[in-house]
């Protein structure tokens, strides 16, 4: 097997009930897997949740992650997403210092270029909501640094395969 190190995105459909996130994160800790981000939310059926996990590792590690996830009884389906065929998005809220009018209008301009929204305005700060892939968000944060970034909240990556391919539970399972 080739050992290609890199970033992998794993998508899992899991039971949407209390304790499932604990079982999964506990397994990652116990098996010594290094998870970069993990996001969870309700999937296409109300009793299912979709979990998106990004991992830095080699192919063999990621294969083990998938197998160990599959072994958990609350995990229904797992796939590794192909980056070329996947839409990934992350949302970030960035609180930036704007001590004067000049800074304020600069931050607003940059936000517009990045298709972000100013979602909170205070005397000396703004909160910008920005959505995109991780690179775009990183670039925006870099740009904000000279102004003084007070707080950042990022959701982590969520993802879906494009078009025909899907990671979903077939009816009748």
């Amino acid at each position: 097997m080739t050992e290609k190190p890199g970033k992998y995105i794993v998508s899992a459909i899991v039971e949407h009930k209390p304790g499932v996130l604990y079982r999964i994160s506990n397994m990652f800790r116990r098996r010594n897997f290094n998870i970069e981000t993990i996001t969870v939310g309700t999937a296409e059926q109300e009793d299912l949740a979709r979990m998106t996990i990004t991992i830095n590792g080699d192919e063999r590690t990621v294969e083990q992650v998938v197998k160990q996830l599959n072994k958990l009884i609350d995990v229904i389906k797992v796939s590794i997403l192909d980056p070329a065929n996947t839409v990934t998005r992350e949302l970030a809220l960035v609180k930036v210092n704007v001590p004067d009018a000049r800074a304020r209008s600069d931050v607003i301009n940059y936000s517009e270029i990045f298709k972000g929204h100013v979602v909170d305005v205070a005397h000396d700060s703004l909160v910008v909501e920005i959505t995109g892939n991780a690179d775009k968000i990183n670039a925006f944060i870099e740009l904000m640094k000279p102004f003084g970034v007070k707080e950042i909240a990022r959701t982590g990556i969520t993802a879906l395969p494009r078009g025909m391919t899907s990671v979903k539970v077939n009816n009748g399972v």
């Binding site: 097997m1 899991v14 039971e15 304790g19 604990y22 079982r23 506990n26 397994m27 116990r30 063999r60 294969e63 083990q64 197998k67 160990q68 599959n70 072994k71 958990l72 009884i73 609350d74 995990v75 229904i76 389906k77 539970v169 399972v173």
Partner: protein, 566 residues
Amino acid sequence: MVKMTGAKALVEALKKQKADVIFGIPGGALIPIYDVLYNSDIKHVLMRHEQCAAHAADGYARASGLVGVCMATSGPGATNLVTGIANAYMDSSPIVAFTGQVNTYSANTSYMIGKDAFQEADIIGITTPITKFNFQPRTAAEIPRTVRQAFYIASTGRPGPVVVDLPKDTQTATADMDFGDNIEFRGYRPNYEPHPLQIEKAANLLANAEKPVIIAGGGVISSGASSELIALAELLVAPVATTFMGKGCMPEDHPLSLGMLGMHGTIAANKLVPKADVLLAVGMRFSDRTTGDVTKFCPGAEIIHIDIDSSEIGKNIVPHVPIVADAKRALKALYNRLVKSYRKKERSIWMRRIQELKKQQEDLVRSVKGLSPPRLLIELRKIIPRDAIITTEVGQNQMWAALYMKTYKPRTFISSGGLGTMGFGFPAAIGAKVACPDVPVIDIAGDGSFIMTSQDLASTVVGGIPVIVLVLNNSMLGMVAQWQRLFYNRRYSAVDLGAPPDFVKLAEAYGAQGIRVGSLGELLKAVKTAMKSDVTTVIDVPIHPEENVFPMVPPGGEVSNLLTGD
């Protein structure tokens, strides 16, 4: 639908699972269930420590092939089970452990889950990494289905322990109970059938192998695949080494049996397995104790790995042909595929080499004098029935037993492999004896280990469960001392246990029989007496404190580089 309390429903559900024995200790959070057990036909064995209840359930499961059941109250009762549950998890033993729990939320109770009520412990959180699955029903009506699911998960696929945590108010509440058979799990469907393409690939490799070797693990025992294993080995004239957990799946007096592989494996297994050109590994997980340095393990071999747990494949070793399937079905499929076309090979050189190496091991034993554990166990083996059940503690006693107590049948060698739990052997013997009352059950024990769970002598005496404990008494934590002797320049740090206890008096204090022996003859006589006795017998065998278990592969070494002590 029938209306009844949760406690009653639990007992009814257990009967439906044909669980007729529970090893347990009651407590406040379980009184409703014990009240139902008071006049039920389920046998309850009252243990003296919950750790022993879990080990006894484990021993029962391993000896019988059924699911073992144990029960403990909330808080400390539940946490006392933890070692036993972890032990069952590491050795893939099917047990269901019931724990009491404080009440779920309700408007008029001041004590409830999450509020640190008296004797609350988060046993679900604690046991998540050491169980196959765990449940906490929140209403009485869920109990029958939960029991069904628990037994199903414990006993199917790769077996393992399941915890069912029962809040007290779910035991007392009344509900309409559904005792149907439905079990749904969207995320659990073990794969039993081997893929025909993989069988084809494996069969081709085996058909062309010059030196095929089979390594059989505990999975062969749990799937009941011994006869399939033997048939395939005989067809291929392939020698079979077992892992520690696989001991018993191939009769150890079979000409193709190499015995156990690994750190304290036999000379034959450790020398011949690395010579294989095709290695068929079945129902095993390439643990470090089996492979030694995994990067240097069987470098020349094409490896076929059969396991029902797909996460075991590629975890420690990446095989050339992975087969995710039940061991029995996969071995049968391989046999069926090969039997028509296979041209039987003689392999006379190979067979002669096996006999030579087996003889080396015998010579090794013959050279030692006095009341040496290997000799003593070899002689003991001769006077007990072929189907006698041997359990062991952990340490030198365990490795001597593994090397020198030849095992002829599956489920007759029961020991803590993955976790290496001192104190396991004695309560496991209790469970095994309850499962198989008609065969002698002998715990080959170390003094240090037996001290850890010896209080359950009381359970065997009061419960009428006569087992035999053979204490190989070196007054030492002998295995640790061996490592200190071999790898730490004889700096014996904290391993000398001194003389206490007097095991004869200890046995007698519990109403059991205690016998001290000073010679091989006395030992054999004592064992014969013990096998006839209807009370537990503890046989104290003083041995030299500086014996070593050989052969030994130093930790992290290659299996073929073994120390033999001469």
